[in-house]
């Protein structure tokens, strides 16, 4: 492991966290000025992180932007998940989830990360995906086009492939629906081996994804944050958040791996919504059914989206 390169990388992730937090705080400032609270923590065994949490904002009911840089002995669980025999690992990254107050503003998730093992292999991973409570196809297109542009500017990235991977990853089998309108997802980028130039190119792309988050998401926040909403729409939002919980706790590999491998629970579960409802066999009205009809794999969001 190239310690100097990793040290710089961790600093860069931390700076990315700062840029994103500033961007979110600027939006909150237009409404009420609530700011993030920082929670610095150490990991027993090596490394630590800085969890930044927004609670009860005017725009976001809950938001968490987490930076972590952890290292240590590779546990059997980690070796199995990473398919490696290496004894030591190093990992760093930024992840975020935002849960808005207004049901017309989508939930959003972003994660960028780097993994390095003591056997010399290393790779990048990450993605951005959006979960509207009510799908607006035009806004989903707008969102996907920003991600597509970010990919197209980097030779190591393939929007088409990464979009398909997001379709597959952010799918809830027991509901037979996608988590939202997807986005991009990639993992093991460069794992087959990277020259210094390739490593740098992959890193540049990953940070471009991190920096695409605000321009991909904030326009949709501004467009919807002042829209009035009914109590029925709020109820639907609380139920859609339930689906989000189901995905994260049952299917999300990162969340599950963190929980079963003794990760920092509060930082991992920062992704859960502040308030949630479940109702047996909830009935969907016409607007809600329209959204359900859009929660499918294979929709050409960046082109001309059509219901399957």
């Amino acid at each position: 492991m190239n310690q100097e390169r990793l040290y710089t990388l961790a600093q860069d992730f931390r700076d990315l966290q700062d840029r994103i937090v500033r961007g979110i705080e600027a939006v909150e400032a237009e409404h009420a000025g609530l700011t993030f609270v920082d929670d610095n923590w150490d990991r027993p065994g090596g490394g630590g992180g800085r969890t930044r949490v927004l609670t009860g904002g005017q725009v976001w009911e809950r938001g968490g932007v987490n930076f972590s840089q952890v290292e240590g002995d590779a546990s059997p669980a980690l070796k199995a998940q990473m398919q490696t025999n290496a004894d030591r690992f190093w990992a760093a990254g930024v992840s975020l989830v935002l849960h808005p107050n207004n049901p017309h503003v989508p939930i959003v998730h972003m994660n960028v990360r780097h993994f390095a093992l003591s056997d010399g292999t290393s790779w990048f991973g990450g993605g951005i995906d959006m979960t509207p409570h009510y799908v607006n196809p035009k806004e989903a297109t707008q969102f996907h086009r920003v991600l597509k542009e970010a990919c197209n500017a980097h030779r190591c990235a393939d929007y088409h492939q990464f979009k398909l991977e997001a379709d597959d990853y952010f799918f809830v089998p027991h509901r037979q629906e996608t988590r939202g309108v997807g986005g991009i997802f990639f993992d093991h980028l460069g794992r087959e081996g990277m020259s210094q130039t390739e490593w740098q190119a992959n890193k540049d792309f990953v940070f471009a994804v991190g920096d695409a988050f605000l321009p991909a998401y904030l326009p949709l926040v501004h467009a919807n944050v002042k829209r009035p909403f009914s109590s029925q729409e709020r109820e639907w939002q609380l139920h859609r958040r339930g689906r989000y919980v189901e995905f994260n706790l049952v299917w999300d590999r990162g969340t599950r791996f963190g929980l079963v491998s003794n990760g920092r629970t509060e930082s991992i579960l920062m992704s859960l919504p502040p308030q949630v409802k479940w109702t047996y066999d909830l009935e969907a009205g016409p607007e809600e059914q329209d959204t359900l009809d859009w929660l499918k794999k294979g929709i050409d969001w960046a082109g001309t989206p059509q219901k399957p």
Copy 2:
């Protein structure tokens, strides 16, 4: 598989469901008279069930009592979970979860079931466990003693062992706390082989557990349902429900198996609370901390409970 015996068993489970639902409805009737709604369903591949759901009662905000009798080809996932090569399975049982309105009334869960395989093996399983939002040690003792008496009346049952198994099963590793004050849990009862007499003895015990549910739980409902509660106590309840969700979706083998093996999602997730909250790094007041101190394995609830 002894089809006639299984047919009768399924009927008996259905009757147990009826007895329990009547007992719960009688309590609701003292307050507002809300009754359960029935949902009969068929399982593609064989069998079906009757899910009975109470929503928005005066005593229980949500209650579900589920009967199912399913059969069919054993999937690879089922074979792996059941550690068998048998091609066909048959399963029936009753399961319930009740989420009260009043934070001083505990959440409760009960499940009794029978599994039979085409290789001739069969077994019983089940248990009852209670999850108070605020632990009252005297009430936990009262609850455990009813379960202990039910076990002591049956030679095939061992309260001590089943209590330890509940401690282990209803544990949330990522929170390092038990789900509640436990109860009893048993599985594979008779799997090593049962004579007709032993089968009957095990069945009698399992139904004794089912019928111990109302006398174990209802006295604690009556004792607490009219207690006033503060908004702070309600908040704590909503957060404890979050822990319940975490256990069920991350750790509960039955829930996870059902979801990944294409079970009936609405009946499986009937156990989830109607309203839930998560807060980053929630602070516990003195009363709440007292409860957390009791959420440990190894407490002698049926004897003289002491904090570890």
